[in-house]
């Protein structure tokens, strides 16, 4: 099969798929999720049920919290696979990092990045944000350490054992709150009613802030482990 024949066949396949998608869109009914059904219920009574101002956080960590647990399991599987594939025995090759100016400036800025990450995590039920986004911001700190200060600095400050501890701690917090839901309210990952307080304050909304903190540490540590495993002997040159 020569090149031209292959291109012609590919273009035929692409045109066919595009036409099928277009026909499917013309068959699709209008969007009516808000008039009836689940979305209507969540919008009407989500604030009274969970005490969380942010309805997306209410869906993620209360109504569909079991789904989020499955997602955490997927991240755990990805981290396990990457560490298993890229496992190595020796320490990483260190670099001297970037120049003095960048090191000092990031030394000033890194605590504020950490503060912003914790703000996004703990205010997940009041403002946009939550465990996933704040966790990725915390993972960015580890990436900054690896690139700017060299990977040996990252190894000394947050060794892989510490990251593993954070990740398992976050997952165990999630599972423990789920089991507490069984013991006190009667269903797995049920929102703990005795923890609710006045709506709009920082510690309210039952167990949602604690699940946020657990998911944040789990996602942050997991993505930091992924990045740390992928930079073997990468930044050895001195820029």
């Amino acid at each position: 099969m020569n090149k031209l024949m292959k291109k012609i066949m590919i273009s035929v396949v692409l045109t066919g798929v595009a036409f099928a998608l277009y026909q499917n869109f013309s068959l699709m009914p209008e969007y009516q999720g808000l008039n009836e059904g689940l979305s209507n219920y969540i919008i009407k009574s989500g604030l009274n049920d969970t005490g969380s101002l942010n309805l997306i956080t209410a869906v993620l960590y209360d109504y569909r919290a079991f789904d989020s647990l499955g997602e955490s399991t997927v991240i755990f599987g990805a981290v396990s696979g990457i560490v298993l594939i890229l496992s190595r025995k020796m320490l990483p090759v260190s670099s001297k990092g970037l120049s003095f100016i960048v090191k000092r400036a990031l030394g000033i800025m890194t605590p504020f990045i950490a503060l912003f990450g914790f703000y996004v995590i703990t205010h997940g039920h009041l403002t946009p944000g939550g465990g996933f986004q704040g966790g990725v911001i915390l993972a960015a700190i580890s990436i900054i350490f690896s690139i700017v200060y060299g990977s040996a600095f990252d190894y000394r400050r947050y060794s892989p054992q510490t990251k593993t501890l954070f990740e398992t701690g976050g997952a165990l917090t999630f599972l423990g709150l789920g089991l507490a839901g069984i013991l006190m309210e009667g269903a797995f990952l049920q929102n703990l009613g005795f923890l609710t307080a006045e709506t709009g304050t920082l510690i309210s909304a039952g167990s949602i802030p604690y699940i946020n903190i657990g998911v944040g540490f789990k996602v942050g540590a997991g993505l930091a482990i992924i990045f740390y495993s992928m930079i073997q002997k990468t930044f050895e040159e001195d820029f």
């Binding site: 001297k96 120049s99 100016i101 960048v102 400036a105 990031l106 800025m109 820029f239």
Partner: protein, 113 residues
């Protein structure tokens, strides 16, 4: 249309004009270092002006304070990133043109780590 809105619109339009100047500099300058210079200096003042205009536009205490913090972050991060990129491209010798007579940076390379 109060005076506050006029001031904020003026700041935002000035910032956008500086952004257009940045794009002109990126397109018209000949090599890496002059383009980096255009991207650094003019883009920093553009971003700071736009954030100042936005902070005056919303005019709420905590919201304006957050936007001013974002502007201060630009003021820190943009020259720093530009410095890192320029230094890396100098040490990698990316596009070091031959017609430069003065190379003052090579004296400093031995001293800072």
């Amino acid at each position: 249309m109060t005076l506050r809105l006029i001031i904020s619109y003026f700041l935002m339009i000035t910032g956008s004009a500086f952004a257009i100047v940045t794009v002109l500099g990126l397109l018209r300058f000949p090599d890496v270092y002059t383009r980096i210079h255009a991207g650094a200096v003019v883009l920093t003042i553009s971003a700071v002006l736009v954030t100042m205009g936005t902070a005056i536009y919303v005019w709420d205490l905590f919201l304006s304070a957050k936007i001013v913090l974002i502007g201060i972050f630009f003021l820190f991060s943009n020259p720093m990133a530009t410095h890192a990129i320029a230094r890396a491209s100098y040490k990698r010798q990316i596009a070091l043109p031959e017609e430069y007579e003065i190379d003052a940076y090579s004296d400093y390379l031995g001293r800072d780590a």
